[in-house]
């Protein structure tokens, strides 16, 4: 299949940018809620921190998948 390298670059950029938007919004919402909870009950901050850490790892994974896809696009599927 013949695809212009410009289209491949565009695809890689769109892939990572949309995923980064989603992951950023997700991490922002999760951290905001966690800080609200910590401000309301400072004594459980340790537990919330662990939960937040886990949640951020899983949210971040989506952005990493997009990163892998766009890297594959750039380096493997050159067009």
């Amino acid at each position: 299949m013949v695809v212009g390298s410009g289209l491949v670059a565009l695809g890689a950029g769109i892939a990572i940018s949309i995923a980064a938007c989603g992951a950023g919004i997700g991490i922002g919402m999760a951290s905001g809620k966690a800080f609200e909870a910590a401000a309301r009950q400072p004594e459980i901050f340790g537990k919330i921190q662990t939960l937040l850490f886990t949640a951020i790892i899983f949210i971040e994974a989506t952005a990493i998948y997009a990163l892998v896809v766009s890297l594959l696009l750039i380096f493997v599927f050159k067009g």
Binding site: F53, T54, I57, E60, A61, I64, V68
Partner: protein, 391 residues
């Protein structure tokens, strides 16, 4: 000054066909860190008022320092508490610390500014001329950070080809076994080096224990206890003793493997085989652990827990965990590696040292920690489910 892939390095030597060197950027980074630490330590006693924004930061620093120095000064503090008045004298004061931080920042900024301005306009700057051996480094900085060469590099295929050649896995040596060629790549050799290092350090740390901990034994005990705490947050207390060593080894091994990119060695995780193999091992440990905990029958029941048709989804769950674990490590390290290659190509002196603090060191260690933590989480989750679900 030697160069390694076009990057100025202080020294370079060849090991098994791979060139190893210490890039100037890394030396600059270490120098900045050392200067900042030195300034903080030297001037922490000079109590001067500082901007409010730095007060909290310096209080954190002060409490950390207090904890570090508390062992040495325990005797003195006890005497002070007995007298009840002079306890303040031994603690590093926040005001002094913030003054030190501000001074160090201003000093570094002025240093950088004079050098940058003079190197951009004329020959080596005043400080470089003063310290003659710095001149080659700053000349290279001048050559490679002026806007013109960067634009020239951007316009051509230069960056793309250099990065593409950097991500290739090179074969160090190979042999034929039953007609199959087995190639030993550079990343594998790096992995062996890390394994040897970890083995030697563990042997050294594990020798000569004493009932009253002291010196290196404190380090070893703190490491073990911190990994046990990490496991204790996500799994049953009875299982911690069994799985903490595995989780801790994963964390140390992956973290050290990722940190090797500081020395321009290829990090093993940029080769997808490395994270996939580690993830398969982890998922294997998870499955074996749950079988060991509840037996074959219990495991089969947990796989088909509410109804028999849940089986494909439970199998899929394991596969997705595997893909997620391996892709997370691979994507993070590969992305960081490409970014660092880009930095080394664009501005080999200043940029890699600064970016490397996060992308080489902090991110690598965090990814090792995350991998170990997720493994512990999966072990705890699956074994717990296998215990409770069949009821």
């Amino acid at each position: 000054m030697d160069t390694l892939f076009g990057i100025h390095t202080l020294f370079r030597f060849d090991v098994l066909g791979t060139s190893v060197g210490l890039p100037v950027g890394v030396v600059v980074q270490w120098g900045v860190m050392a200067l900042a630490f030195l300034a903080v330590f030297l001037m922490r006693r000079n109590a001067k008022p500082a901007p409010m924004a730095l007060q909290n930061f310096s209080e954190i620093l002060a409490s950390t320092l207090k904890r570090w120095t508390s062992r040495k000064k325990a005797a003195g503090r006890a005497a002070d508490q007995a007298s009840g008045s002079a306890g303040k004298r031994l603690d590093p004061s926040p005001e002094g610390l913030s003054a030190a931080v501000v001074t160090a920042a201003i000093f570094l900024f002025v240093f950088w500014l004079t050098e940058a301005v003079t190197t951009l306009t004329t020959s080596p700057g005043p400080v470089s001329r003063l310290v003659g051996w710095l001149a080659p480094g700053f000349n290279a900085l001048k050559e490679q950070t002026i806007v013109g060469p960067i634009l020239a590099r951007f316009s051509g295929q230069d960056i793309g080809t250099e990065i593409t050649s950097a991500i290739q896995v090179r074969e160090i040596f190979g042999f034929d076994l039953f007609g199959i060629h087995i190639a030993v790549a550079d990343v594998v050799v790096v992995m062996w080096v890390v394994m040897l290092f970890l083995l030697l350090v563990s042997l050294w740390l594990g020798r000569g224990f004493h009932p009253v901990p002291k010196g290196k034994q404190l380090v070893a005990e703190n490491l073990v206890v911190s990994f046990q705490k990490l496991c204790g947050t996500v799994m049953d207390p009875t299982m911690v003793e069994k799985y903490a060593p595995f989780v801790g080894s994963l964390c140390l091994f992956i973290g050290l493997c990722n940190v090797t990119s500081t020395f321009r060695l290829p990090p093993p995780a940029k080769n997808p085989a490395f994270p996939i193999a580690l993830a398969i091992t982890s998922i294997g440990i998870v499955i074996a652990g749950s079988i060991r905990a509840v037996g074959w029958k219990g495991f089969a029941r947990s796989m088909t827990f509410p109804k028999w048709w849940m089986l494909p989804f439970k199998v899929l769950d394991f596969v997705i965990k595997l893909v997620s674990l391996s892709l997370r490590l691979f994507g993070n390290i590969f992305g960081a590696f490409i970014l660092m290659e880009f930095a080394y190509v664009v501005a080999p002196i200043l940029l890699p040292g600064l970016l490397g603090l996060w992308f080489d060191i902090a991110d690598g260690i965090i990814q090792g920690l995350v991998f170990a933590y997720l493994t512990a989480l999966y072990v705890g989750e699956v074994v717990e489910n296998a215990h409770h679900e069949p009821a």
